[in-house]
Protein backbone atom coordinates (compact mmCIF):
# COMPACT_ATOMS: atom_id res chain seq x y z
CA UNK A 1 0.00 0.00 0.00
CA UNK A 2 2.19 2.82 -1.24
CA UNK A 3 1.32 6.05 -3.03
CA UNK A 4 -2.05 7.74 -3.34
CA UNK A 5 -4.93 5.58 -4.50
CA UNK A 6 -5.70 5.85 -8.21
CA UNK A 7 -8.93 7.65 -9.04
CA UNK A 8 -11.47 5.22 -10.46
CA UNK A 9 -14.02 6.05 -13.13
CA UNK A 10 -17.66 5.49 -12.05
CA UNK A 11 -17.63 2.39 -14.25
CA UNK A 12 -16.00 0.54 -11.32
CA UNK A 13 -19.48 -0.17 -9.95
CA UNK A 14 -20.49 -2.10 -13.07
CA UNK A 15 -17.11 -3.80 -13.46
CA UNK A 16 -16.35 -4.71 -9.86
CA UNK A 17 -19.79 -5.13 -8.29
CA UNK A 18 -22.61 -5.58 -10.78
CA UNK A 19 -20.94 -7.77 -13.44
CA UNK A 20 -22.04 -11.39 -13.69
CA UNK A 21 -24.72 -13.69 -15.05
CA UNK A 22 -28.14 -12.04 -15.26
CA UNK A 23 -29.92 -14.87 -13.45
CA UNK A 24 -27.34 -15.21 -10.67
CA UNK A 25 -29.08 -14.59 -7.32
CA UNK A 26 -26.83 -12.06 -5.63
CA UNK A 27 -29.03 -10.88 -2.76
CA UNK A 28 -31.79 -12.31 -0.64
CA UNK A 29 -33.67 -9.85 1.52
CA UNK A 30 -36.95 -11.69 1.78
CA UNK A 31 -37.15 -12.35 -1.94
CA UNK A 32 -34.21 -13.44 -4.10
CA UNK A 33 -32.72 -10.64 -6.18
CA UNK A 34 -30.88 -11.57 -9.38
CA UNK A 35 -28.09 -9.50 -10.89
CA UNK A 36 -30.46 -8.44 -13.66
CA UNK A 37 -32.99 -7.31 -11.02
CA UNK A 38 -30.30 -5.39 -9.13
CA UNK A 39 -28.94 -3.74 -12.28
CA UNK A 40 -32.47 -2.61 -13.17
CA UNK A 41 -33.08 -1.33 -9.66
CA UNK A 42 -29.79 0.57 -9.55
CA UNK A 43 -30.40 2.10 -12.99
CA UNK A 44 -33.87 3.20 -11.86
CA UNK A 45 -32.57 4.82 -8.69
CA UNK A 46 -29.81 6.47 -10.71
CA UNK A 47 -32.47 8.13 -12.82
CA UNK A 48 -34.33 9.39 -9.75
CA UNK A 49 -31.12 10.74 -8.18
CA UNK A 50 -30.16 12.41 -11.47
CA UNK A 51 -33.60 14.03 -11.68
CA UNK A 52 -32.98 15.37 -8.17
CA UNK A 53 -29.84 17.04 -9.54
CA UNK A 54 -27.15 14.56 -8.57
CA UNK A 55 -24.22 14.63 -10.98
CA UNK A 56 -20.68 13.29 -11.19
CA UNK A 57 -18.70 15.02 -8.44
CA UNK A 58 -21.93 15.80 -6.59
CA UNK A 59 -22.92 14.81 -3.05
CA UNK A 60 -25.71 12.74 -1.58
CA UNK A 61 -26.48 11.74 2.00
CA UNK A 62 -28.20 8.42 2.63
CA UNK A 63 -30.05 7.97 5.88
CA UNK A 64 -31.63 4.57 5.33
CA UNK A 65 -31.92 1.38 7.35
CA UNK A 66 -30.39 -1.79 5.88
CA UNK A 67 -32.60 -2.51 2.88
CA UNK A 68 -32.70 -3.08 -0.83
CA UNK A 69 -33.36 0.66 -1.06
CA UNK A 70 -30.09 1.41 0.75
CA UNK A 71 -28.15 -0.87 -1.60
CA UNK A 72 -29.75 0.48 -4.78
CA UNK A 73 -29.33 4.14 -3.84
CA UNK A 74 -25.72 3.71 -2.74
CA UNK A 75 -24.69 1.84 -5.89
CA UNK A 76 -26.64 4.31 -8.04
CA UNK A 77 -24.89 7.28 -6.42
CA UNK A 78 -21.47 5.71 -6.97
CA UNK A 79 -22.41 4.78 -10.55
CA UNK A 80 -23.16 8.45 -11.20
CA UNK A 81 -19.73 9.31 -9.78
CA UNK A 82 -21.14 11.09 -6.74
CA UNK A 83 -19.85 11.09 -3.17
CA UNK A 84 -22.19 9.32 -0.73
CA UNK A 85 -22.34 10.14 2.98
CA UNK A 86 -23.78 7.35 5.09
CA UNK A 87 -25.74 8.53 8.12
CA UNK A 88 -26.78 5.90 10.62
CA UNK A 89 -30.55 5.49 10.38
CA UNK A 90 -30.71 5.30 14.19
CA UNK A 91 -29.61 8.91 14.59
CA UNK A 92 -32.21 11.27 16.00
CA UNK A 93 -33.54 14.08 13.77
CA UNK A 94 -31.41 16.45 15.88
CA UNK A 95 -28.27 14.48 15.04
CA UNK A 96 -29.20 14.14 11.37
CA UNK A 97 -29.73 17.91 11.08
CA UNK A 98 -26.33 18.54 12.67
CA UNK A 99 -24.67 16.10 10.26
CA UNK A 100 -26.37 17.63 7.22
CA UNK A 101 -25.31 21.13 8.27
CA UNK A 102 -21.77 19.86 8.45
CA UNK A 103 -21.72 17.81 5.25
CA UNK A 104 -23.92 20.07 3.05
CA UNK A 105 -25.03 17.35 0.61
CA UNK A 106 -26.87 18.37 -2.56
CA UNK A 107 -29.35 15.49 -2.30
CA UNK A 108 -30.67 13.66 0.77
CA UNK A 109 -32.35 10.25 0.65
CA UNK A 110 -34.38 9.22 3.68
CA UNK A 111 -37.21 6.79 4.29
CA UNK A 112 -40.85 7.85 4.20
CA UNK A 113 -41.15 5.94 7.45
CA UNK A 114 -38.09 5.12 9.57
CA UNK A 115 -37.81 2.06 11.78
CA UNK A 116 -40.25 0.27 9.51
CA UNK A 117 -40.55 -3.38 10.45
CA UNK A 118 -39.84 -3.51 14.17
CA UNK A 119 -36.69 -3.73 16.26
CA UNK A 120 -35.63 -7.25 15.29
CA UNK A 121 -36.15 -7.05 11.52
CA UNK A 122 -32.96 -7.86 9.62
CA UNK A 123 -33.84 -5.43 6.87
CA UNK A 124 -36.48 -2.81 6.23
CA UNK A 125 -38.86 -2.37 3.32
CA UNK A 126 -38.55 1.26 2.49
CA UNK A 127 -40.10 3.81 0.20
CA UNK A 128 -37.49 6.48 -0.30
CA UNK A 129 -37.94 10.21 -0.08
CA UNK A 130 -35.44 12.10 -2.23
CA UNK A 131 -34.89 15.75 -1.40
CA UNK A 132 -32.76 18.34 -3.20
CA UNK A 133 -31.00 20.73 -0.82
CA UNK A 134 -30.72 24.27 -2.21
CA UNK A 135 -27.52 25.07 -0.29
CA UNK A 136 -25.85 21.73 -1.04
CA UNK A 137 -22.24 21.72 -2.16
CA UNK A 138 -20.48 19.49 -4.69
CA UNK A 139 -17.79 17.16 -3.38
CA UNK A 140 -14.65 18.92 -2.19
CA UNK A 141 -12.64 15.72 -2.56
CA UNK A 142 -12.73 12.68 -4.82
CA UNK A 143 -13.74 10.28 -2.06
CA UNK A 144 -16.62 7.89 -2.77
CA UNK A 145 -17.92 7.41 0.74
CA UNK A 146 -18.05 9.54 3.86
CA UNK A 147 -18.88 8.25 7.34
CA UNK A 148 -19.15 10.16 10.58
CA UNK A 149 -17.77 8.37 13.56
CA UNK A 150 -19.21 8.87 17.02
CA UNK A 151 -17.53 11.81 18.67
CA UNK A 152 -17.87 13.87 15.52
CA UNK A 153 -17.57 17.05 17.55
CA UNK A 154 -13.84 16.91 16.76
CA UNK A 155 -12.40 18.03 13.43
CA UNK A 156 -10.88 14.71 12.41
CA UNK A 157 -13.81 12.41 12.83
CA UNK A 158 -15.20 12.61 9.31
CA UNK A 159 -13.90 9.45 7.67
CA UNK A 160 -13.55 9.31 3.89
CA UNK A 161 -12.59 6.51 1.51
CA UNK A 162 -11.91 6.50 -2.19
CA UNK A 163 -13.52 3.96 -4.50
CA UNK A 164 -10.02 2.51 -4.96
CA UNK A 165 -9.79 1.89 -1.22
CA UNK A 166 -13.09 -0.02 -1.30
CA UNK A 167 -11.95 -2.04 -4.31
CA UNK A 168 -8.62 -2.72 -2.57
CA UNK A 169 -10.48 -4.07 0.43
CA UNK A 170 -12.76 -6.25 -1.66
CA UNK A 171 -9.68 -7.62 -3.46
CA UNK A 172 -7.96 -8.16 -0.10
CA UNK A 173 -10.85 -10.39 0.97
CA UNK A 174 -10.36 -12.55 -2.11
CA UNK A 175 -6.78 -13.22 -0.94
CA UNK A 176 -7.72 -14.38 2.56
CA UNK A 177 -8.16 -18.09 3.17
CA UNK A 178 -11.49 -18.89 4.82
CA UNK A 179 -13.50 -16.16 3.06
CA UNK A 180 -16.49 -17.58 1.13
CA UNK A 181 -16.01 -18.08 -2.61
CA UNK A 182 -18.19 -17.88 -5.72
CA UNK A 183 -21.32 -20.00 -5.43
CA UNK A 184 -21.30 -19.87 -1.63
CA UNK A 185 -23.50 -17.81 0.65
CA UNK A 186 -23.05 -15.25 3.41
CA UNK A 187 -25.83 -14.85 5.96
CA UNK A 188 -24.99 -11.41 7.27
CA UNK A 189 -25.99 -10.26 10.73
CA UNK A 190 -23.72 -7.21 10.52
CA UNK A 191 -25.38 -3.94 9.61
CA UNK A 192 -24.67 -3.02 5.99
CA UNK A 193 -24.46 0.66 6.90
CA UNK A 194 -21.16 -0.02 8.72
CA UNK A 195 -17.85 -1.22 7.30
CA UNK A 196 -18.01 -4.92 8.21
CA UNK A 197 -21.47 -5.48 6.76
CA UNK A 198 -20.96 -2.98 3.94
CA UNK A 199 -17.63 -4.12 2.50
CA UNK A 200 -17.12 -7.55 4.09
CA UNK A 201 -20.75 -8.47 3.45
CA UNK A 202 -22.39 -6.51 0.65
CA UNK A 203 -19.58 -5.32 -1.63
CA UNK A 204 -17.49 -8.48 -1.31
CA UNK A 205 -20.50 -10.71 -2.03
CA UNK A 206 -21.40 -8.74 -5.13
CA UNK A 207 -17.82 -8.84 -6.36
CA UNK A 208 -17.14 -12.51 -5.64
CA UNK A 209 -20.45 -13.99 -6.80
CA UNK A 210 -21.45 -14.94 -3.26
CA UNK A 211 -25.16 -14.73 -2.38
CA UNK A 212 -25.77 -12.28 0.46
CA UNK A 213 -28.74 -13.17 2.63
CA UNK A 214 -30.13 -11.09 5.48
CA UNK A 215 -32.39 -12.95 7.94
CA UNK A 216 -35.97 -11.72 8.21
CA UNK A 217 -35.60 -11.60 11.97
CA UNK A 218 -32.42 -11.23 13.98
CA UNK A 219 -33.46 -13.69 16.67
CA UNK A 220 -31.56 -16.93 17.24
CA UNK A 221 -34.40 -18.82 15.62
CA UNK A 222 -34.55 -16.38 12.69
CA UNK A 223 -30.80 -16.58 12.08
CA UNK A 224 -30.73 -20.37 12.14
CA UNK A 225 -33.79 -20.48 9.84
CA UNK A 226 -31.95 -18.25 7.36
CA UNK A 227 -28.94 -20.56 7.42
CA UNK A 228 -31.17 -23.62 6.94
CA UNK A 229 -33.00 -21.98 4.01
CA UNK A 230 -30.17 -22.58 1.53
CA UNK A 231 -28.02 -25.48 0.43
CA UNK A 232 -24.86 -23.61 -0.59
CA UNK A 233 -21.89 -23.60 1.80
CA UNK A 234 -22.78 -20.80 4.21
CA UNK A 235 -20.78 -18.41 6.35
CA UNK A 236 -22.33 -16.34 9.14
CA UNK A 237 -20.99 -12.79 9.38
CA UNK A 238 -21.71 -10.85 12.55
CA UNK A 239 -20.44 -9.27 15.73
CA UNK A 240 -19.48 -10.98 19.01
CA UNK A 241 -23.03 -10.71 20.36
CA UNK A 242 -24.19 -13.11 17.66
CA UNK A 243 -21.67 -15.75 18.75
CA UNK A 244 -22.98 -15.49 22.29
CA UNK A 245 -26.59 -15.65 21.10
CA UNK A 246 -26.04 -18.71 18.90
CA UNK A 247 -23.83 -20.42 21.48
CA UNK A 248 -26.73 -20.20 23.94
CA UNK A 249 -28.97 -22.33 21.69
CA UNK A 250 -28.97 -25.63 23.58
CA UNK A 251 -30.08 -27.88 20.71
CA UNK A 252 -29.52 -26.27 17.33
CA UNK A 253 -30.84 -28.11 14.27
CA UNK A 254 -28.41 -29.93 12.00
CA UNK A 255 -26.94 -27.36 9.60
CA UNK A 256 -24.74 -29.25 7.14
CA UNK A 257 -24.47 -26.17 4.92
CA UNK A 258 -22.94 -24.03 7.69
CA UNK A 259 -19.18 -23.91 7.18
CA UNK A 260 -18.16 -21.17 9.55
CA UNK A 261 -18.77 -17.89 11.30
CA UNK A 262 -16.71 -14.73 11.16
CA UNK A 263 -17.10 -11.76 13.45
CA UNK A 264 -15.54 -8.34 13.68
CA UNK A 265 -14.79 -6.61 16.93
CA UNK A 266 -13.56 -7.72 20.31
CA UNK A 267 -12.95 -11.38 21.12
CA UNK A 268 -15.66 -13.32 22.90
CA UNK A 269 -14.87 -15.04 26.18
CA UNK A 270 -13.12 -18.40 25.86
CA UNK A 271 -16.13 -20.29 27.28
CA UNK A 272 -18.47 -18.71 24.71
CA UNK A 273 -16.00 -19.52 21.92
CA UNK A 274 -15.82 -23.13 23.09
CA UNK A 275 -19.62 -23.39 23.45
CA UNK A 276 -20.13 -22.16 19.88
CA UNK A 277 -17.57 -24.63 18.50
CA UNK A 278 -19.22 -27.41 20.50
CA UNK A 279 -22.74 -26.58 19.24
CA UNK A 280 -21.96 -26.11 15.56
CA UNK A 281 -18.59 -27.79 14.98
CA UNK A 282 -17.55 -25.21 12.37
CA UNK A 283 -14.80 -22.68 11.89
CA UNK A 284 -15.11 -19.62 14.13
CA UNK A 285 -12.99 -16.70 13.02
CA UNK A 286 -12.31 -13.14 14.03
CA UNK A 287 -11.42 -10.02 12.07
CA UNK A 288 -9.87 -6.75 13.17
CA UNK A 289 -10.79 -3.71 11.14
CA UNK A 290 -11.63 -0.04 11.20
CA UNK A 291 -14.05 2.18 9.30
CA UNK A 292 -11.02 4.10 8.00
CA UNK A 293 -9.46 1.19 6.08
CA UNK A 294 -11.72 -1.85 6.44
CA UNK A 295 -10.32 -5.26 7.31
CA UNK A 296 -6.80 -5.06 8.73
CA UNK A 297 -6.02 -8.49 10.16
CA UNK A 298 -7.80 -11.81 10.50
CA UNK A 299 -7.85 -15.16 12.23
CA UNK A 300 -10.61 -16.89 10.30
CA UNK A 301 -9.84 -20.39 11.57
CA UNK A 302 -9.31 -19.47 15.21
CA UNK A 303 -5.73 -20.74 14.95
CA UNK A 304 -4.01 -17.59 16.24
CA UNK A 305 -6.54 -16.66 18.92
CA UNK A 306 -6.21 -14.24 20.66
CA UNK A 307 -3.89 -12.81 17.96
CA UNK A 308 -4.65 -11.97 14.31
CA UNK A 309 -2.52 -12.07 11.15
CA UNK A 310 -2.22 -8.85 9.10
CA UNK A 311 -4.24 -9.00 5.88
CA UNK A 312 -2.27 -9.08 2.59
CA UNK A 313 -0.65 -5.73 1.87
CA UNK A 314 -0.92 -4.31 5.37
CA UNK A 315 2.01 -3.16 7.46
CA UNK A 316 1.26 -2.83 11.16
CA UNK A 317 3.67 -1.54 13.79
CA UNK A 318 3.55 -1.01 17.50
CA UNK A 319 4.43 2.51 18.59
CA UNK A 320 4.54 3.22 22.32
CA UNK A 321 2.04 0.46 22.92
CA UNK A 322 -0.39 1.65 20.20
CA UNK A 323 -1.04 -0.11 16.90
CA UNK A 324 -0.21 2.00 13.82
CA UNK A 325 -1.08 1.05 10.25
CA UNK A 326 0.81 2.19 7.16
CA UNK A 327 -1.58 4.39 5.19
CA UNK A 328 -0.21 6.85 2.65
CA UNK A 329 -2.92 9.49 3.05
CA UNK A 330 -5.05 10.58 5.98
CA UNK A 331 -8.57 9.11 5.89
CA UNK A 332 -9.96 12.14 7.71
CA UNK A 333 -11.51 15.23 6.19
CA UNK A 334 -11.12 18.72 7.57
CA UNK A 335 -8.53 19.95 10.03
CA UNK A 336 -6.04 17.15 10.62
CA UNK A 337 -5.24 15.73 14.03
CA UNK A 338 -1.68 14.31 14.18
CA UNK A 339 -2.84 12.14 17.05
CA UNK A 340 -4.92 10.18 14.53
CA UNK A 341 -2.76 10.15 11.39
CA UNK A 342 0.77 11.35 10.78
CA UNK A 343 3.67 10.69 8.40
CA UNK A 344 1.96 7.85 6.57
CA UNK A 345 0.70 6.05 9.66
CA UNK A 346 -2.85 5.69 10.92
CA UNK A 347 -2.93 5.75 14.71
CA UNK A 348 -5.58 3.20 15.58
CA UNK A 349 -6.01 4.26 19.24
CA UNK A 350 -5.99 0.54 19.94
CA UNK A 351 -3.46 -0.72 22.43
CA UNK A 352 -1.62 -3.71 21.07
CA UNK A 353 1.61 -5.44 20.20
CA UNK A 354 3.19 -7.04 17.14
CA UNK A 355 5.24 -10.21 17.43
CA UNK A 356 8.43 -9.43 15.47
CA UNK A 357 9.03 -13.10 14.67
CA UNK A 358 5.60 -14.06 13.34
CA UNK A 359 4.01 -10.70 12.53
CA UNK A 360 0.97 -11.70 14.59
CA UNK A 361 -0.89 -8.81 16.17
CA UNK A 362 -2.56 -8.69 19.58
CA UNK A 363 -5.26 -6.05 20.07
CA UNK A 364 -5.49 -5.17 23.73
CA UNK A 365 -8.35 -2.65 23.92
CA UNK A 366 -8.96 1.03 23.33
CA UNK A 367 -6.63 3.76 24.50
CA UNK A 368 -9.30 6.43 24.19
CA UNK A 369 -12.90 6.82 25.26
CA UNK A 370 -14.44 4.79 22.44
CA UNK A 371 -16.54 1.80 23.45
CA UNK A 372 -18.44 -0.80 21.49
CA UNK A 373 -22.17 -1.15 22.06
CA UNK A 374 -23.35 -4.24 20.23
CA UNK A 375 -20.71 -3.67 17.57
CA UNK A 376 -21.50 0.04 17.20
CA UNK A 377 -18.75 2.44 18.17
CA UNK A 378 -19.64 5.12 20.68
CA UNK A 379 -17.25 7.79 21.89
CA UNK A 380 -18.05 8.51 25.53
CA UNK A 381 -16.74 12.06 25.17
CA UNK A 382 -19.50 12.80 22.66
CA UNK A 383 -22.10 11.71 25.20
CA UNK A 384 -20.36 13.57 28.00
CA UNK A 385 -20.02 16.80 25.99
CA UNK A 386 -23.66 16.67 25.04
CA UNK A 387 -24.72 16.24 28.67
CA UNK A 388 -22.33 18.85 30.02
CA UNK A 389 -23.62 21.31 27.42
CA UNK A 390 -27.21 21.13 28.63
CA UNK A 391 -28.38 24.09 30.72
CA UNK A 392 -29.94 21.61 33.17
CA UNK A 393 -26.55 20.00 33.90
CA UNK A 394 -23.79 21.55 36.02
CA UNK A 395 -21.26 18.79 35.36
CA UNK A 396 -21.23 15.27 34.01
CA UNK A 397 -19.05 12.20 33.71
CA UNK A 398 -19.88 9.29 31.39
CA UNK A 399 -18.39 5.83 31.89
CA UNK A 400 -18.90 2.34 30.51
CA UNK A 401 -19.31 -0.77 32.64
CA UNK A 402 -21.42 -3.35 30.77
CA UNK A 403 -23.45 -0.31 29.60
CA UNK A 404 -23.06 3.46 29.25
CA UNK A 405 -23.77 5.23 32.54
CA UNK A 406 -23.78 8.93 33.35
CA UNK A 407 -23.12 10.65 36.67
CA UNK A 408 -24.62 14.12 36.79
CA UNK A 409 -24.74 17.15 38.98
CA UNK A 410 -27.92 19.03 38.10
CA UNK A 411 -27.96 22.80 37.70
CA UNK A 412 -29.91 24.74 40.33
CA UNK A 413 -33.62 24.16 39.93
CA UNK A 414 -33.22 21.59 37.13
CA UNK A 415 -34.94 18.20 37.19
CA UNK A 416 -33.79 14.82 35.92
CA UNK A 417 -36.79 14.33 33.64
CA UNK A 418 -35.80 17.41 31.62
CA UNK A 419 -32.33 15.94 31.13
CA UNK A 420 -33.85 12.63 30.04
CA UNK A 421 -36.00 14.44 27.46
CA UNK A 422 -32.97 16.22 26.00
CA UNK A 423 -31.00 12.97 25.81
CA UNK A 424 -33.81 11.31 23.87
CA UNK A 425 -33.91 14.23 21.45
CA UNK A 426 -30.19 14.62 20.92
CA UNK A 427 -28.70 11.13 21.04
CA UNK A 428 -29.41 7.97 19.06
CA UNK A 429 -30.69 5.20 21.31
CA UNK A 430 -27.49 3.16 21.23
CA UNK A 431 -25.46 6.14 22.48
CA UNK A 432 -27.75 7.02 25.37
CA UNK A 433 -26.70 6.36 28.97
CA UNK A 434 -28.63 3.37 30.20
CA UNK A 435 -28.48 4.76 33.72
CA UNK A 436 -28.42 8.33 35.02
CA UNK A 437 -27.01 8.82 38.51
CA UNK A 438 -27.77 12.24 39.92
CA UNK A 439 -25.18 13.14 42.57
CA UNK A 440 -24.48 16.20 44.71
CA UNK A 441 -20.89 16.39 43.51
CA UNK A 442 -18.53 14.50 41.26
CA UNK A 443 -15.19 13.21 42.54
CA UNK A 444 -12.23 15.28 41.38
CA UNK A 445 -8.47 14.97 41.51
CA UNK A 446 -6.35 17.22 43.69
CA UNK A 447 -5.98 19.54 40.69
CA UNK A 448 -9.73 19.72 40.19
CA UNK A 449 -10.07 17.39 37.18
CA UNK A 450 -13.10 15.14 37.02
CA UNK A 451 -12.40 11.52 37.95
CA UNK A 452 -13.66 8.94 35.45
CA UNK A 453 -12.94 5.89 37.55
CA UNK A 454 -16.11 3.85 37.88
CA UNK A 455 -15.38 2.62 41.41
CA UNK A 456 -14.76 6.17 42.65
CA UNK A 457 -17.96 7.37 41.01
CA UNK A 458 -19.97 4.56 42.54
CA UNK A 459 -18.49 5.42 45.94
CA UNK A 460 -19.52 9.04 45.49
CA UNK A 461 -22.98 7.94 44.49
CA UNK A 462 -23.40 5.88 47.64
CA UNK A 463 -22.01 8.53 50.00
Amino acid sequence: MTGSPPQLEPGWVDEVLLAGAADDVCLQLGVPVSRADLRRLVAGRGQVLAEAGLRRGGTVALCLAPSLAFIANLLAAWRIGAQASLLDYRLTPYEVDAALRRLLPQVVVTAEQQNAGGPLRGYAEITERVRTCPGGQPAATSHAVIQLSSGSTGPSKVIARHAASLVDEVTRYTQIDGVPRQGERIVSLASMVHVLGLVGGLLYSLHAGVTLMIPDRMTADGILAAVAAGTQPTTLLGVPFHIELLASVTSPPGLPMLTGMTTGGELVRADVHAAFRDRYNVRLGNMYGMTEVGVIATDLFGEYRPAVMPAPGFTIREQDGELHIALPASPYLGVQDPERWSDGWLHTKDAGCVDPATGLVRVLGRRDSQVSVGGLKVDLTEVEHMLAGLPEVASAVVVHDHAIEAYLVLADGACQSAVEREITTRLAAYKRPRRLHVVDQLPRTATGKLVRDHAALKGEHRS
Binding site: L120, L245, A429
Partner: protein, 73 residues
Protein backbone atom coordinates in the same frame (compact mmCIF):
# COMPACT_ATOMS: atom_id res chain seq x y z
CA UNK B 1 -47.57 -22.61 25.09
CA UNK B 2 -48.50 -21.19 28.49
CA UNK B 3 -46.58 -20.08 31.49
CA UNK B 4 -46.17 -17.33 34.00
CA UNK B 5 -43.47 -14.79 33.74
CA UNK B 6 -42.73 -11.92 36.06
CA UNK B 7 -40.32 -9.04 36.27
CA UNK B 8 -37.66 -11.02 38.21
CA UNK B 9 -37.73 -13.71 35.48
CA UNK B 10 -37.24 -11.15 32.72
CA UNK B 11 -34.44 -9.38 34.58
CA UNK B 12 -32.76 -12.72 35.37
CA UNK B 13 -32.87 -13.76 31.72
CA UNK B 14 -31.49 -10.40 30.55
CA UNK B 15 -28.72 -10.63 33.16
CA UNK B 16 -27.40 -13.84 31.60
CA UNK B 17 -26.24 -11.78 28.61
CA UNK B 18 -22.76 -10.42 29.32
CA UNK B 19 -22.58 -12.10 32.73
CA UNK B 20 -24.33 -9.25 34.52
CA UNK B 21 -25.84 -9.16 37.95
CA UNK B 22 -29.60 -8.51 37.98
CA UNK B 23 -29.06 -5.05 39.47
CA UNK B 24 -26.87 -4.20 36.44
CA UNK B 25 -29.77 -4.74 34.04
CA UNK B 26 -31.17 -1.33 33.06
CA UNK B 27 -34.85 -0.64 32.48
CA UNK B 28 -34.40 0.05 28.77
CA UNK B 29 -33.87 -2.94 26.48
CA UNK B 30 -31.87 -2.46 23.29
CA UNK B 31 -32.33 -4.58 20.17
CA UNK B 32 -29.53 -7.02 21.01
CA UNK B 33 -30.87 -7.56 24.52
CA UNK B 34 -34.32 -8.05 23.04
CA UNK B 35 -33.00 -10.77 20.71
CA UNK B 36 -31.35 -12.35 23.72
CA UNK B 37 -34.49 -12.17 25.84
CA UNK B 38 -36.70 -13.63 23.11
CA UNK B 39 -34.33 -16.55 22.75
CA UNK B 40 -34.19 -17.20 26.50
CA UNK B 41 -37.99 -17.16 26.70
CA UNK B 42 -38.28 -19.45 23.66
CA UNK B 43 -35.84 -21.94 25.17
CA UNK B 44 -37.96 -22.07 28.29
CA UNK B 45 -41.50 -21.82 26.89
CA UNK B 46 -41.24 -22.78 23.22
CA UNK B 47 -41.46 -20.59 20.12
CA UNK B 48 -43.25 -17.28 20.65
CA UNK B 49 -45.71 -15.70 18.27
CA UNK B 50 -44.83 -12.04 18.76
CA UNK B 51 -45.56 -9.52 16.01
CA UNK B 52 -43.42 -6.48 15.21
CA UNK B 53 -45.67 -4.07 17.11
CA UNK B 54 -45.44 -6.18 20.25
CA UNK B 55 -41.67 -6.43 19.89
CA UNK B 56 -41.54 -2.65 19.66
CA UNK B 57 -43.41 -2.48 22.99
CA UNK B 58 -40.66 -4.59 24.58
CA UNK B 59 -38.20 -1.71 24.69
CA UNK B 60 -38.33 -1.63 28.50
CA UNK B 61 -38.38 -4.35 31.15
CA UNK B 62 -41.90 -3.24 32.11
CA UNK B 63 -43.07 -3.44 28.48
CA UNK B 64 -41.42 -6.84 28.03
CA UNK B 65 -43.18 -8.24 31.11
CA UNK B 66 -46.52 -6.93 29.78
CA UNK B 67 -46.09 -8.41 26.31
CA UNK B 68 -44.77 -11.74 27.54
CA UNK B 69 -47.59 -12.03 30.06
CA UNK B 70 -50.08 -11.55 27.20
CA UNK B 71 -48.31 -13.95 24.86
CA UNK B 72 -47.82 -16.70 27.42
CA UNK B 73 -51.36 -16.46 28.84
Amino acid sequence: MTGEIGRPDVVAMLATYGERRPEQVPEEIDSLELAWLIHQVEQRYGLLDVDDDSLARMSTVTGAVEVLTEVLR
